[in-house]
């Protein structure tokens, strides 16, 4: 939905006065004010608790703005590159020397400027998000006497920009705005405001400024990807009703005019390989579904779909069981079904779940569905823990079933649990900050942390970062907990402590505190605790140690902890030396 300028002005001013600042450098060569407003508006909307400030640099000095950003206290850098940034003669305001003779010099100047900008980007601290949009405005009629033909010189210039983009995306990890995405929201012919460019130095029509700002904002502050997708089976995962046509009668291929289902299966398989949880909820005969899921030509491996809830009961109940198994909230999940009635029933029972109609052979809608799902689950990078997620949930199921079948102490004692506590993880490890920023239930205070803030915390004297990994005889869970704080004399002041909900019921939290007390040589732990709407598991854990639920920050002595700590059976296999930063 297009944001009008008056609305953008209002949004940009809606920052809470006491919100933590989120300062963004807008590095552009044109008059920035209107793009600055739209960018501030979109970022403020994405981060309503922060106080977004968008700062710009000098006119026509994009590279200089980037080079000086490193000396400023900022959280992100945004670079909407335009041709004039590479050489003023590539813009309409500075096109005083158009001539065929000047082209080689302009091309060399552009290459040199791209190198300078790439160097400035490389010099930015690694944790800063950098969002880049490639030139999207028309070039002056410099290169070719016939507008319909692309000249070799112009193609070389564009290739140079593409190579630059490829380099900063692969090397520095910059987020480059997808030009195809922008093309759809803002067609090329609707972007350039010739009058405004010549009169005030602002080259964009307002619609393009809004679309560009929205895209760059989404790169700087991306929406949290959904964690799981629950799919219907009949006329969704495949075409046909398995109970009527049999397991061999359902189809997903071109010759049966059901290729859409094939593409859908492929997309689910790709999402599953990136750590997205895939489940199924179907009103069906379990035996028939089992045979269909066993077909060798199914494009997603059936073990990737877990749980697969098949019964004649309400879909909402199946969804409930799947959410419980995954231990995720409905608002992290998408439900896809071909029946509007089933979607409505699930939506009513699970507020927050996103219900999407599978459109069958309505091809435009099917095309849109595939792209929508890609966007809902897409993430900038896939970590090793993402790939482990489904396996650890299966492992958790086995763990819980085994625990239910034996006395807790006996079970934990025989779990062959190993804990790795790593004190040498660097501030640049994305998985660590990702865990801090997406964990809700076992989270000390719910405070989210931007990369620059995280680095600043770890740069202080006495800073401690412990990253905890776990495995037992049921399999590995990967790195599942993070504690961050600083040693202050004889106590460790813990500012951040999170643990994945997949790791509950294993006494990992107890072992973590025990290890911190020992490794940091302190007699007391001080927690920056704050109750949140979702951290009741942590509140209950603290309640067990304190004999009362805490309501705010508190201290816990070594004696208090030892008095309430249950027996621990984990083998602590790797404790690298406790390291203080700064």
């Amino acid at each position: 939905m297009r944001v009008r300028l008056s609305e953008a002005l209002r949004l940009a001013r809606s920052a809470p006065g006491n919100g933590a600042p989120f300062v963004v450098v807008l590095a552009c060569g044109f008059t920035p004010h209107l793009l600055q407003t739209f960018l501030a508006a979109h970022l403020q909307r994405a981060m309503p608790t922060r106080r977004v400030v968008v700062e710009s640099g000098l006119f026509a000095d994009t590279a200089g703005t980037l080079e000086s950003a490193v000396r400023r206290d900022v959280q992100a850098v945004v670079l909407p590159l335009e041709w004039a940034d590479l050489d003023p003669r590539l813009g309409f305001r500075g096109a005083g020397a158009w001539s065929a003779a000047a082209i080689p010099e302009i091309a060399a100047s552009a290459r040199s400027m791209l190198d300078r900008i790439a160097g400035a980007i490389a010099a930015l601290p690694a944790g800063w998000p950098v969002a880049v949009a490639l030139p999207g405005l028309p070039l002056p009629p410099l290169f070719s006497p016939v507008g319909v033909q692309a000249s070799a010189e112009e193609l070389a210039l564009r290739a140079g920009v593409e190579a630059f983009a490829s380099g900063i995306a692969a090397g520095r990890g910059c987020a480059v705005l997808h030009s195809g995405h922008l093309d759809e929201l803002s067609p090329a012919a609707e972007r350039y405001d010739f009058r405004s460019d010549l009169a005030s130095g602002f080259p964009y029509k307002l619609g393009h400024a809004d679309a560009l700002a929205a895209g760059l904002s989404a790169l700087v502050a991306p929406a949290a990807p959904r964690k799981g997708l629950i799919t219907d089976l009949d006329d969704t995962l495949w075409s046909g009703t398995v109970g009527e046509v049999g397991p061999d009668g359902v189809t997903w291929d071109l010759s049966s005019h059901s290729q859409v289902h094939s593409l859908y299966q492929n997309l689910l398989a790709a999402l599953a390989s990136e750590g997205v949880l895939i489940g199924a909820a179907s009103k069906n005969e379990p035996a028939a579904v089992e045979r269909a899921m066993g077909r060798a030509d199914l494009l997603i491996r059936p073990e990737r779909i877990f749980p697969c809830e098949v019964s004649w009961n309400a879909k909402s109940a199946a969804v409930e069981r799947i959410l419980r198994t995954w231990n995720v909230g409905a608002d992290s999940v998408v439900f896809v079904d071909d029946s509007p009635m089933e979607l409505a029933e699930v939506a009513a029972a699970h507020p927050g779940i996103e219900c999407i109609l599978f459109p069958g052979n309505d091809y435009p809608k099917a095309f849109a569905l595939l792209r929508r799902l890609r966007d809902l689950f897409g993430k900038p990078r896939v970590s090793a823990e993402d790939a482990l997620r489904l396996e650890s949930i299966r492992q958790g199921e086995v763990f819980q079933q085994s625990a239910a079948g034996s006395a807790p102490e006996t079970f934990l004692e025989r779990a062959d649990a190993e804990i790795a506590v790593d004190f040498e993880t660097g501030a640049e490890d994305n998985r660590v900050l990702e865990l801090v920023n997406k964990t809700n239930q076992f989270n000390l205070n719910g405070v989210r942390c931007a990369p620059a803030e995280w680095r600043a915390r770890l740069a202080r004297p006495g800073a401690v970062l412990a990253v905890i990994g776990y495995r037992d005889r049921f399999g590995p869970l990967g790195r599942i907990a993070v504690a961050q704080g600083r040693v202050e004399g004889s106590r460790l002041h813990i500012e951040t402590w999170v643990m994945s909900c997949r790791a509950f019921a294993r006494r990992i939290e107890h072992r973590t505190l025990q290890t911190l007390l020992a490794a940091c040589h302190v007699g007391e732990l001080y927690f920056d605790f704050a109750p949140t709407a979702r951290n009741s598991p942590l509140q209950e854990f603290f309640g067990g140690l304190l004999e009362a639920l805490p309501t705010g920050p508190f201290a816990l002595s070594r004696e208090q902890f030892e008095c309430h700590c249950p027996p621990l059976y984990h083998c602590v296999v790797e404790i690298k030396e406790a390291k203080t930063y700064g």
Partner: protein
């Protein structure tokens, strides 16, 4: 209050949120410190978007008060 005046008031409010409606109606580039060149360009963009008109950027210097801008918009808006 007529529709054009009310809509223009909203445009000014968007650009100069610290001003009351009465202050906006009396506003001139001299009396409002925040009405600098950047604010002027922003105001023009908001007004153009709101009324679907194109303002003559060469005449901006003449449009230096709320009433002047109102007269201009009244003259331009009906033709769009």
């Amino acid at each position: 209050m007529d529709n054009i005046r009310a809509s223009l008031l909203k445009c000014f409010e968007a650009v100069f949120p610290a001003l009351s409606p009465a202050e906006i109606e009396a506003a001139t580039q001299v009396s409002v410190a925040a009405w600098d060149s950047v604010a002027a360009i922003t105001l023009v963009s908001v007004i153009e978007e709101e009324f679907g008109i194109l303002m003559d950027l060469d005449r901006l210097a003449d449009l230096d008060s709320f009433e002047q801008v109102l007269d201009f918009v009244r003259a331009e808006a009906p033709r769009t």
